[in-house]
């Protein structure tokens, strides 16, 4: 790896200039925010790179409460933004406890979602407008600040999970939601993952104001727990808690109020940070997830790992593996996944597809943008 320069940009014009200069020199260009999730991809750089950080571009440019929109520079962290929004009773549905330190630009480049993904989706669902610098050093705008907008092509979602390979996001207009009146959660210990699956299926069928539906197990406590999060009007949350209790029958559970819910997740992500090299992540069709989880339990896979999370709501599996057994676990997971088309893991080599290849070639013919990450043919580090 040869980092020629790490440049902390103050505005899009500086980024555009730096991109042109780097391209002239034939250097690769690696966009980053705080760089919280980037180092591992630089390890195998196949050409000298210039890192361009948007970390100093961290201001809120325009907040319009009545329009439920906010325009921010790409380098603002989620925690900074949410703190400001909280004071005005609105929020961006991406959770601080899980992703607070990340920048908004970085979260879009990886199309992240918080622990309430089941209800609120991913960050791409909240992007109304974008400004970005192209690999040719042009500053381009797309979208705007209205939910309804079909003027010209919509590239607001072009960058979803593009991992910095198509351009550098400089500013973003986000759609906000009015703060929900009440949050609550039910947490319970279940005898087995199978039990957690069965309860989750019933909860899904009940069509409640469920925002989280996750089972998890850690090595300190060898029991599965299920957390069911609710958010909505206070009457509805109260009523739906009753419905959940009916589903749970004779099982013991604890009820968490809003403050306890926040505290729970804070502690949860301190204990199990999501960005760790040994985390295996799988996602896709929930029906397939249920089957894979079942096979994992049957074959005692969960007892071999430090931590497991099955997000029944969002269709996601996270397993924190010891380094020594990682390879065996990967093989087992692939064997359990009979329906490969509908469920994928982070350790499988990504095939970004023909549309991406065509666009990438047109926008960045010399493959300068992030030339060595998992999409652009660098050594695959999954």
């Amino acid at each position: 790896m040869q980092i020629k320069d790490k440049f902390f940009a103050e505005n899009p014009q500086e980024i555009a200039q730096k991109v042109i200069e780097a391209a002239d020199e034939g250097f690769g260009i690696v966009p980053c925010g705080k760089g919280t999730n980037i180092e591992k991809y630089l390890a195998s750089a196949n050409k000298p790179v210039v890192m361009i950080s948007t970390e100093r571009m961290d201001s809120i440019q325009e907040f319009e409460r009545d329009n439920l929109s906010v325009k921010v520079q790409a380098g603002i962290t989620l925690a900074q933004l949410q703190k400001e929004l909280h004071e005005h009773d609105v929020f961006l549905p991406l959770t601080v406890e899980s992703h607070g330190r990340r920048t908004i630009g970085g979260l879009i480049a990886e199309n992240e979602a918080g622990y309430e993904e089941y209800a609120y989706g991913k960050i791409q669902d909240y992007v109304l407008g974008l400004e970005f610098v192209t690999p040719y050093g042009e500053i381009v705008k797309t979208g705007g600040k209205t939910v309804k907008n079909v003027s010209g092509y919509d590239f607001t979602r072009l960058f979803a999970n593009s991992l910095g390979t198509l351009g550098i996001i400089t500013s973003i207009t986000l759609k906000l939601r009015p703060e929900v009146e009440k949050r609550a959660a039910v947490i319970l210990e279940v005898p087995s993952l199978k039990e957690a699956s069965e309860i989750s299926k019933k909860i899904i069928q009940e069509k409640l104001v469920t925002v989280t539906l996750k089972g998890y197990k850690d090595h300190e406590n060898d029991k599965w727990r299920l957390i069911i999060g609710l958010a909505g009007f206070k009457e509805t949350v109260k009523h739906h808690l009753q419905k959940i209790k009916k589903v749970l029958g004779s099982l013991n559970y604890s009820e968490l109020d809003q403050a306890e819910v926040n505290g729970f997740w804070k502690e949860y992500y301190q204990k199990f940070p999501i960005y760790e090299d040994n985390n295996i992540v799988g996602m896709g069709d929930k029906r397939v997830l249920f089957k894979i989880a079942e096979s994992c339990e049957k074959n005692n896979l969960f007892s071999q790992v430090a931590f497991s999370e099955v997000d029944f709501g969002a269709g996601k599996l996270i397993i924190k593996t010891p380094k020594e057994t990682k390879e065996t676990i990967k093989e087992s997971l692939l064997a359990y996944n009979q329906e490969k088309f509908n469920f994928s893991f982070n350790f499988q080599k990504p095939q970004p597809g023909l549309i991406y290849k065509k666009i990438k070639t047109a926008l960045d013919p010399n493959n300068l943008m992030f030339p060595n990450n998992r999409l652009t043919g660098g050594e695959y580090l999954g």
Partner: protein, 459 residues
């Protein structure tokens, strides 16, 4: 007319019953729901993705333009064949392939109508949230290609918010998948979004995986009359500030109220400046409090009357005025041009007032209804087609409306599309660099520019 060899090849792909070349058929398919009329040279009805792919390969080989088309409800000229060629009508690909209540999704072929999808998922307690006015006829493929909106947009967003994955045939005939239909979903770029509102210029959408929304348990409808546009606008802001996001929030301005009242004799006060029609939906236990809060806000903002519907019949009554708008205008002038500019929600009263002033300036009648909750205006500029001088004033007024909407940080079109209609105004909204970027992506996907050329961009 198309080359004979090409016609033979097309027939061998779709069968002779799925291709029309007679003059009368070509004339029928020269229209969509816009004023633009352009005849195709052949009308072809593929029934499978493979057939679409074969047709596009032929189009590349023979350099024949192709215009994809669903039900032809496009209001901006997106579905007419500007350069002749093939009108590719996708309505025979109309199967609902899967409804999955665990993932809360449905997989449909492109030609399924919005209404048929709604009917199929409703018994399972779901809905497809986008509900354009054309939903009885409009297809899901067309909804995606135009990123259709509708009256529930305030709460539920627009089509792109409900599309999880696509199967698309690229102009070279390659069949590809995106989003949740692509292998590796979650770990590869999700390019589903760029097809939303791409107006059939990037590829032909053949299958769509849509997100289903839980059908609300209940709904309430209210109507409030205001003698001031600003008060109506303030009421909208106050409702949202209370954390209530209505499902529907429609507004009619003075000209529209008068037109409707003259037509239906509903007894609206003559000094009414704005009528707000509002619906909230949700769970039974929460809905009454929302209604109370909204009624309180209406009173605070000095609504001259507030009505709530207690049942379906009363709801229909409240909707009558809104639904009769277009018909009522027909009594005043034989034709109208309808715009769909969109401005940030809180600028709506200002924009409505501006349009009202413009009607005086150009001495034309403009009646306005708007989806107030999402800032989407539908000013109807009335004219007589036999009066070219009046039409010229309508065009000048239109231009000024576009410019002002953009100055208010708005957009040329919220849900109807650029098509042919707004092509000349693209330069008002976008810089040269923005447009050149759009062209680069278009050419990356459609190098020979066979697919719906002349829409969205001048190429």
């Amino acid at each position: 007319m198309l080359d004979k060899h090409l016609l033979v090849k097309l027939k061998s792909i779709v069968g002779k019953e799925d291709i029309l070349t007679s003059k009368i058929s070509r004339e029928v398919y020269a229209y969509d729901s816009s004023p633009f009329i352009h005849e195709p040279e052949a009308v072809v009805f593929p029934e499978t993705t493979a057939e679409v792919a074969e047709i596009l390969k032929l189009s590349e080989a023979y350099s024949i333009p192709v215009v994809p088309r669903g039900a032809g409800t496009c209001l901006s000229g997106g579905a007419v064949s500007l350069y002749g060629g093939i009108s590719l009508v996708l309505t025979k690909m109309d199967k609902i392939l899967d409804i999955d209540t665990v993932n809360e999704t449905a997989l449909v072929e492109t030609g399924v109508t919005n209404l048929n999808l709604q009917k199929a998922v409703e018994p399972l307690g779901f809905m497809f949230a986008p509900d354009p006015a054309s939903q009885k006829a409009a297809t899901i493929g067309g909804n995606v290609a135009e990123c259709a909106g509708g009256i529930r947009g305030v709460k539920y967003g627009v089509t792109k918010d409900h599309v999880l994955g696509l199967e698309v045939v690229l102009p070279g005939g390659e069949i590809v998948t995106t989003g949740a239909l692509a292998s590796g979903y979650g770990f590869i770029p999700d390019l589903t979004g760029i097809f939303s509102g791409s107006e059939g210029t990037f590829g032909i959408i053949t299958k769509i995986l849509v997100k289903l929304t839980v059908m609300p348990e209940t709904m309430r409808t209210m109507m409030a009359v205001f003698d001031s546009l600003d008060k109506a606008g303030e009421a909208v802001s106050a409702i949202i500030a209370k954390g209530i996001v209505p499902t529907t929030l429609e507004i009619m301005d003075k000209s529209m109220i008068r037109a409707v009242d003259d037509f239906l004799k509903l007894g609206f006060p003559r000094d009414a400046e704005a009528v707000l029609l509002l619906e909230v939906d949700g769970y039974e236990v929460e809905i009454d409090r929302q209604v109370d809060v909204i009624e309180e806000i209406f009173r605070e903002k000095k609504a001259s009357s507030v009505q709530s519907a207690k049942d379906r019949t009363e709801r229909e009554k409240l909707w009558l005025a809104r639904r009769s708008g277009n018909g009522a205008l027909g009594r005043i002038k034989p034709a109208y041009m309808v715009q769909d500019i969109t401005v940030p929600r809180h600028r709506l009263p200002q924009m409505l007032r501006f349009v009202s002033d413009i009607s005086k300036k150009y001495d034309i009648t403009i009646a306005q209804m708007a989806h107030a909750g999402d800032g989407n205006l539908h000013p109807h500029l009335l004219y007589d087609p036999d009066d070219p001088e009046e039409f010229e004033r309508v065009e000048e007024a239109s231009h000024e409306i576009f410019e002002t909407a953009l100055k208010m940080d708005g957009t040329l079109t919220g849900e109807h599309g650029i098509g042919l209609e707004k092509l000349p105004f693209m330069k008002l909204q976008f810089s040269e660099k923005d447009i050149s970027f759009m062209k680069r992506v278009k050419k990356a996907l459609d190098t020979n520019l066979n697919l719906n050329k002349g829409k969205v961009l001048e190429l």
